[in-house]
Subunit: 361 residues, 2 copies
């Protein structure tokens, strides 16, 4: 509830400030931190991506600013309505809510969702509130199972008693209360099929852990869920992805924050995350040589790009891994482990990795 | 359990048959129904796509057949192992399980997942068992909420008591038992964000229905879930998609079966499904004119293609809708309704549609 009042308060203050500027016959303006790569720094100490302190002044009476100014005010108004009605909307919903023609003109406030999305990101920066706190959510995705009991919208939900499906992770996990967490760590994987394999093998039960998967991209709902479990219960988090640059980037986003969202990295990054696999040395160790997928040009380019990121540049272990991957010249999927037997992953690979603390970080 | 024995029995019979052919010094062969558009018919009576009766004889001693023969036997063996171990695998897992070099050669049994996928589809045809019954699953996707209690893997799960997330739908729903179904109908939508909107508005509670969403494609798990609820409880199913040819095809696949999977349409099609919206006439009725997205070339081509499908060709209502869409020359998204207010969809649009039986079928 404190959270709700805060976002409401900040938006109302923003509105009042603009009104008072108008009453004072000033050119209404909003100070907006600059959201560009040139203003993003990697903080060696906190190990997260951070926005620098460069700001811009967005003015109403400035042909280059007028539309962005208006868009910002419009999404602020849409967000305030959502907060007041105690409802949550998707980015697409907000686009349709602010998309209308300015009376007496042929100009739309927004023509494309990229414009309202950018305005929402600006609003996050201006207000210091995350999109979730502004009651605007991204898509939902992912499943979870494990020894955890939560409370959500008045329901008590036991993640260990949800059959083969598990709990479907919502886009917004801010209002969930954790009632009982007996699991000892979290295993996050990029593939739903791997999750189903581990779930069928009762991996989370045998290992007393939590298994979480998305399908492809890690949504903000999942990232916040991981982070809350880490911050509130100090649970170690292990990430399991394919051996390729996309897998490495999934790990990077969870651990350090994403480039696009550097302005809220403090809310989203989880510095203690560890990369469990697939590692290049696993290929020989677990006999996966026949299941490599040769690099294409894009794989080589992406590997170079990732290895040069500030947050990997001075990390010896990762630089060795990148070099080994370059030398290997090929990718490998998690599911290549199935060639060793359908439950090889849950009975041998993962328990061995976790027992031997065989991870990169 | 009966189901399990059946698949096991059929595969073992297939193996025994091949062995007896070998012992009789015959050229081992398997009869496989032909899976091509030329052998797919639309059954006007059952209103589903069906495979015709053309078959081919796949022979071991025939250079054009040898590899396919071997692949079929290999996936049959992988499936039998899964059934015996009582485990389920993904298509990708099975690919890795059968992917190996034939001893004494440089030839792999499969090089690419498309080969093992095709062999699995053949096996479905040969055995008359669905992929799920062969213990091979597609990806999991989607969420469900509503007044339903199920039993699954020993857990009792109440779909009305799962907070903001809902139950995560597994890839395989064959072994779920429905303990209590008080909901009166099912609303299936293509977008997870719309599902979250309706869930937050307690739509399923107020309307006593079940809400199900995927994100994009309707997985086989979702299709079988819809079908089981229809067949076992006679629940009407309404489909809600964007107004475009992709939305229409989502409806078409659920109702009539898909072209790729015509061989198991009987197991997957649900002839009673109704298309609730978005309809072309909704644009004017609900004031969505400003939120249309103009057609591109691909939209026009896809519309023509769909309108010519056998199963739409003689359907007057749908031909009118296709003509109206062509005339409109634009698409509209479900979320365009948000322009009328964030809960317009759950408070006005859907209740009105359902009350007035305003659907296409």
């Amino acid at each position: 509830m404190a959270q709700k009042k805060q976002a409401k308060q900040v938006i109302e203050d923003l509105g009042k400030d603009i009104v008072s500027q108008i009453k004072a016959m000033k050119n209404p303006s909003i100070i907006v931190p600059i959201r560009a790569l040139s203003n993003i720094n990697y903080n060696e100490k906190s190990k997260t991506l951070e926005l620098g302190d460069k700001t811009g002044n967005r003015m109403f009476f400035n042909v280059a600013h007028t539309k962005r100014f208006l868009q910002t005010v419009e999404v602020a108004s849409a967000s305030l309505n959502l907060i007041n009605e105690n409802k949550n909307a998707s980015l697409r919903d907000v686009f349709y809510q602010v998309k209308r023609t300015i009376p007496g003109t042929h100009t739309n406030i927004v023509d494309d969702q990229t414009e309202s999305d950018a305005a929402i990101e600006d609003l996050e920066l201006i207000t210091g509130q995350s999109r979730e706190e502004l009651h605007i959510n991204a898509n939902k995705n992912g499943s979870v199972a494990g020894n955890v009991v939560i409370e959500d919208r008045g329901d008590t939900i036991d993640w260990s008693k949800l059959g083969s499906g598990g709990w479907s992770i919502p886009s917004n996990v801010e209002l969930i209360t954790f009632k009982k967490v007996t699991a000892k760590y979290i295993l996050y994987m990029e593939k739903a099929a791997v999750w189903e394999r581990l779930h069928e093998d009762k991996f989370w039960d045998k290992q007393n852990c939590i298994i979480i998967s998305s399908q492809g991209q890690t949504t903000r709902g999942i990232r916040r869920l991981l982070q809350r479990l880490y911050e509130e219960f100090n649970l170690p988090i292990y990430v399991l992805t394919d051996l390729d640059s996309w897998g490495h980037y999934i790990y990077s986003v969870i651990k350090f924050g994403s480039i696009n969202l550097a302005h809220i990295s403090g809310k989203m990054a989880i510095p203690s995350v560890r990369y469990l696999g697939i590692h290049t040395k696993d290929i020989e160790k677990y006999g996966l040589e026949k299941h490599l997928i040769k690099f294409k040009e894009t794989d080589i380019a992406r590997l170079k790009q990732i290895s040069e990121y500030d947050w990997f540049k001075n990390n010896k272990a990762w630089q060795q891994e990148f070099a080994a991957l370059k030398k290997l010249g090929a990718k490998a999927e998690i599911q290549a482990l199935s060639s060793r037997g359908i439950s090889f992953i849950s009975e041998k690979y993962l328990p061995e990795k976790i027992k031997n603390k065989d991870f990169l970080e």
